[in-house]
Amino acid sequence: MKSTFATLPQVAHREPVRIRLRQCARTFAGRQGQHTALHPLDLAVEPGETLVLLGPSGCGKTTTLRIISGLEQPDAGGEVWFGDEQVTHLPIEKRDVGMVFQNYALFPNMNVAANIGYGLKIRGYSAEVIRQRTGEMVDMVHLQGLEQRAIHELSGGQKQRVALARAMAVQPRVLLFDEPLAALDAKLRDRLRIDIGQLLRQLGITAVYVTHDQAEAMALGDRIAVMEKGRIAQLGTPQQIYHQPATAFVADFIGTVNRFAILGRGQGSLQVTGGGLPSDYQGDASLLYCRPEDVRICTDDEPVAVRGRVIQRFFLGQSQRLLVDTGAAEPLQVDSSSRQHWQVGDAISLSVPADALFAITGNQTQPHAGEKAESAAGSST
């Protein structure tokens, strides 16, 4: 899809910078003693890369972003580096970052143009430069004609565009996003997500993007760090995260997974509840996983298959999701073409291609997935 943002080469004239966190932890003193929001964390964001911090609320992703921005200080011993410069003790106003907030945080006492030009004005640019750069920014985020509007006259999407333009007007070293689309409705969110993605690619600026939305993370991230309970559970490309999740938590958080308990091993097949799967898996994992879209519906005379009964059917438009009871503790989730007519109660045979089955090596005891996740945290490429 074509971006609605026009190209703006001037914004990106700066050399992109690498962000490094070394042993950054964050502990808050609460009423019930110490609360660890972030365990000691090492993280590098490559120059020009977009890194998405993804996780449920309270996983430490926002704390990490705030430490990078300078709004929060890491506990003693932690270091934040922008390129060759250590910025750990610089307050945010001296770090030269651009930040986009969830609730826009636009200044209600200023109009659109004044909001966008605020950072330039603070930096002491002449009125002429401010006017010109603000104009360029307004063009870039397609807000022409709205320059003199008051903030309360804008829609949510327009507000977030102003916030984006305001953050970029000062040509920051890095761009930071704190759930910028969370307050928008689904349609607008998709639109703006595409636009932000295009813009980040064009600018080639180092960016860190916090979200709890996995679709957003996959669409925008060059790499994704999935966080859980103050630690990085897995760091990798969207493909790695999706197809080779390091922990059960990551597999569950990114999309949907089916679980097969291995009951026995035959010649080129595995015995599971409800039948068998063609696989020559030799590892020692007792659970194998697959994605719903990888489950194949096969004919009843297929020799090795899992057999079950459709217990629920969700029509999704481009596909349909079937819940199939195979006698296992949880039903299998199967995506199939939405043109196939399945009824609740129908008998169904399923198979999974051998290469779509994966084991999770990191840790399989789900409730404590985060406890041993550190070993998997360094598996970046």
Binding site: E93, F101, N103, P108, N109, G119, H152
Partner: protein, 277 residues
């Protein structure tokens, strides 16, 4: 049949309305008549004789001659009090916003103390603590201290409410991410966005300071009499007409302020509901 029903219910409505109107008017009369009597007394030649003695502005002039100093002192005092509460109250509201919930609650309670306990007690405490500093005790600054104690929460509360409503902390974070230091943030973002709360607080402070009697009566000296103290003085020692004329002057000063407070309250509410959208 349905029409007769609606006519009957309209009749019931009508009667209910009339009864409510009578009740409301009666309550209003109960409260307004004494004020009107007082105003009339201030304009009557001889109140004992009644209106037949004729109307005059003589008493007003006489009050002005006797108490102009008190009136001016009250105005200066109110403005000085406003200055103090602005300088103390706006930063205090900001501090309360930033500090932890539990501490903020305790501090707010303490700030409300001078409003909750009788003014006489506050004044007595001030006299016990500072009464021996004669220069201070004899000056209008002593009364100013009492007024600031009493009015400070009325500045802090509306400012704090506005700060919470517009999420000043987030705005400040945005400003600092754009490179603004603490002082720049205060003057370009915090202050301009809190004006509605500051105005509401300012009008409240002026009104309360002009009308404050309890604390002032204890703290004043013959040379530092304020408007309400002068009023008590005139009622106690002068003709009724002079006291009443005094009330009239007081009303003329305070009514525009009250109207402004109302007007700003509505204006601030409109503004707040707009910025939330």
């Amino acid at each position: 049949m349905s029409t007769s029903l609606s006519v009957r219910s309209a009749g019931v409505m009508h009667w209910r309305f009339v009864l409510q109107l009578i009740f409301t008017l009666a309550v209003c009369a109960f409260m307004i008549v004494p004020v009107l009597m007082s105003v009339l007394a201030g304009l009557t030649e001889n109140y004992l004789v009644g209106l037949s003695s004729g109307l005059t502005t003589r008493w007003i002039a006489e009050v002005w001659g006797l108490y102009a100093d008190s009136i001016w002192l009250s105005i200066y005092l109110a403005l000085a009090c406003l200055g103090c509460t602005l300088l103390l109250g706006v930063p205090a509201a900001y501090g309360l916003l930033k500090c932890r919930k539990r501490w903020a609650a305790i501090i707010e309670e303490l700030l409300l103390m001078p409003v909750a306990i009788p003014g006489l007690a506050t004044a007595l405490a001030l006299l016990l603590a500072y009464g021996q500093f004669h220069g201070f005790r004899g000056s209008w600054l002593f009364i100013l201290v009492g007024h600031v104690l009493f009015t400070l929460p009325f500045m802090i509360r509306p400012v704090l409410a506005v700060m919470q409503a517009i999420d000043v902390v987030r705005l400040e974070e945005a400003a600092s991410s754009l490179g603004a230091g603490a002082i720049q943030r205060f003057f370009t973002v915090i202050l301009p966005n809190c004006t509605s709360g500051i105005l509401a607080g300012a009008l409240m402070v002026i009104t309360l300071s002009v009308g404050e009697f309890n604390i002032t009566w204890m703290l004043h000296t013959p040379l530092t009499k304020t408007l309400p103290v002068g009023l008590a003085d005139s009622y106690a020692s002068m003709r009724l007409e002079i006291g009443s004329a005094y009330t009239l002057i007081f009303l003329l000063m305070i009514l525009p302020l009250l109207t402004l407070i109302q007007w700003f309250g509505q204006w601030a509410a409109r503004r707040a509901s707009r910025s939330v959208q």
